[in-house]
């Protein structure tokens, strides 16, 4: 199973590092990253493999949401099928 992690918010130092560390700690393997900064607005989208998580996926969602809240970022972690079903026929 793969999940899409979307991080948005005001740009600051080390956002990718923080999210990557959290993923690594919980056993989520990062497969792909796309990120851009528009003005001072940061947006990153990561595709992660969550088959070998140390914790249930729903708890992983909470971990990243909490991380986002700590750093004034919005982090959405969603099963990739939601995007596949909405945007691919």
């Amino acid at each position: 199973m793969k999940a899409v992690v979307t991080v948005t918010g005001k740009d600051n130092v080390g956002i990718i590092a923080k999210v990557s560390v959290a993923c690594a700690e919980k056993g989520a393997n990062i497969l792909d990253i796309a990120q851009s900064v528009l003005g001072d607005y940061f947006a990153m989208i990561m595709l992660v493999d969550v088959n070998y998580l140390d914790i249930p996926f729903v708890d992983f969602v909470d971990v990243l949401t909490a991380l986002g809240n700590q750093h004034n970022l919005r982090i959405d972690t969603m099963h990739e099928d939601i995007f596949n079903s909405m945007h691919r026929i």
Binding site: T8, D32, V61, D76, H79, I82, F83, N84
Partner: protein, 454 residues
């Protein structure tokens, strides 16, 4: 990898445009626990046991899907076989006891609503139907989450005006019994013509006799998403705009289909249908009226509104039909007053009247919904409004419904507050001329000629 703009579009739909799955509704057949000559207590226990067993994991599963997919699933609900078919030889008090058992089942399972305190009397009223209808006011006044419906007409059978008159009375009694709670009882009761058997939306959901033992039906929402898409195309002509709406409806429905399939798999219950209805909420931005205004009418209710609504409703169905393997339920834009901020504003500024709403119901589902009228309106006028709406459904071969709230002690312009998804609404003016002599004739309005299709 997935397209970045697609991902951000989905996130925006959910975070900013209030995209959600309105309800996962589990339909449960109660035919195998039907009553015969058993006592009310005995039947109630069997109903409670069956509902709590079948729906044991419904809420937890819904919450898990919500978390994993990041899609809000607002309600988890249960619908059951129309209870007039289950109650056997029960009297009025017996049916009230059953309603209380349904409430206990709702409390135990944690579902938001339970529907099916219902009966179908479009051609005539059997003994059990009469007992259930007599019990509706007390049943709904003494419970919180139980919903009730009565079908008074079909295209094939015509309209049962005796039942229409009884329903007028039920609505008035419900208002009186729940006067202290802003007449909330009326919000849990709906009168149908051509009622669908697989509707996941309340207050009209029940589990029809053609349905399987247990089934999962899903109702999506998404007026905010459609409004946003429409507003991004201010200069498009109506052909282009219809395409925009279709594409948006497709995406919204695919999400509903995904949730339905997943819920069905996890609960090991067959998937029934996705209901394509655009269901508004009082939240800012989640309004069907605002879509119509985005299409170009100055205020919902202005000339052109019915045409805009017809196009919207049709485009939503066209887009949604391809996105789901089975479409059913009501599948049409809802135009409730209290649950839609744009509708509330349109009434308050004088743009929208009861008569215009009636015209709008000719081209969309599901009828005159959550409309607050003065509490001193005669029962026969309420019956007249029901009859008008049922006739629109009967003649046009579509579902129509009436959910009116006579606000006891309130006059036109006063506000009534229901809270939650039910919202709030201003009291609307009703034509003061009488329909008494017509409705009290009783009997049945014969089925229209196009019922003879065989």
């Amino acid at each position: 990898m997935l397209n970045t703009s697609d991902i951000l579009e989905t996130i925006q739909m959910i975070r900013q445009d209030c995209l959600d799955v309105r309800t996962i509704t589990m339909g449960i057949s109660l035919l195998d626990v039907a009553g015969g000559a058993d006592s009310a207590g005995c039947i109630s226990n069997r109903i409670y046991d069956k509902i709590t067993q079948k729906a044991e994991h419904l809420v937890a599963t819904g919450e898990q899907i919500e978390k994993e997919y990041g899609i809000p699933i607002i309600h988890k609900r249960v619908s059951v076989t129309p209870l007039s078919l289950v109650g056997g030889s029960l009297d009025q008090d017996g049916y009230v006891e059953i309603a209380k058992a349904m409430q206990r089942a709702a409390d135990t399972t944690g579902v938001n609503f339970i529907g099916g305190f219902s009966t179908l009397v479009h051609k005539g009223i059997a003994r059990g139907d009469a007992a259930l209808m007599e019990a509706i006011p007390e049943a709904l006044a003494s419970t919180h989450n139980v919903c009730s419906s009565v079908n008074v007409g079909t295209t094939r059978a015509g309209i049962n005006m005796d039942a229409v008159n009884i329903c007028g009375n039920i609505i008035k009694q419900l208002a009186v019994l729940t006067e202290k709670q802003d007449c909330i009882g009326c919000a849990k009761f709906v009168v149908f013509s051509n009622v669908p058997e697989d509707n996941p939306f309340m207050a009209g959901a029940f589990h029809g006799v053609g349905e399987p033992e247990c089934v999962i039906n899903v109702g999506v929402s998404g007026p905010g998403v459609v409004r946003n898409a429409v507003e991004k195309h201010p200069d498009a002509d109506l052909s282009q705009l219809a395409d925009v709406i279709k594409k948006t409806a497709f995406k919204v429905t695919r999400m509903g289909q995904l949730v339905a399939t997943e819920a069905s798999k996890r609960l090991q219950v067959p998937f029934g249908i996705v209901d394509l209805s655009l269901a508004p909420t009082p939240a800012v931005g989640d309004s069907v009226a605002h879509i119509l205004e985005g299409m170009g009418v100055e205020r919902c209710g202005a000339p052109g509104t019915t045409a805009a609504l017809a196009m919207l409703n049709d485009a939503v169905k066209k887009g949604g039909a391809m996105a789901s393997s089975h479409v059913g339920g009501l599948s049409g834009a809802f135009i409730p007053i209290s649950e839609d901020q744009g509708m509330i504003d349109a009434v308050n500024c004088g743009a929208l009247s009861l008569e215009k709403l009636e015209a709008m119901t000719c081209v969309c589902s599901v009828g005159l919904d959550m409309i607050v009228i003065p509490g001193d309106i005669p029962v026969t006028t309420i019956a007249g409004i029901i009859a008008d709406e049922a006739a629109i459904g009967m003649i046009n071969n579509k579902t129509t419904a009436v959910r009116l709230i006579p606000a006891i002690g309130k006059k036109v312009g006063d506000m009534v507050e229901f809270g939650g998804l039910l919202g709030y609404a201003p009291v609307m003016a009703v034509n003061s001329f009488s329909s008494k002599k017509f409705v009290l004739r009783g009997g049945r309005i014969p089925a229209p000629i196009h019922s003879l299709r065989n």
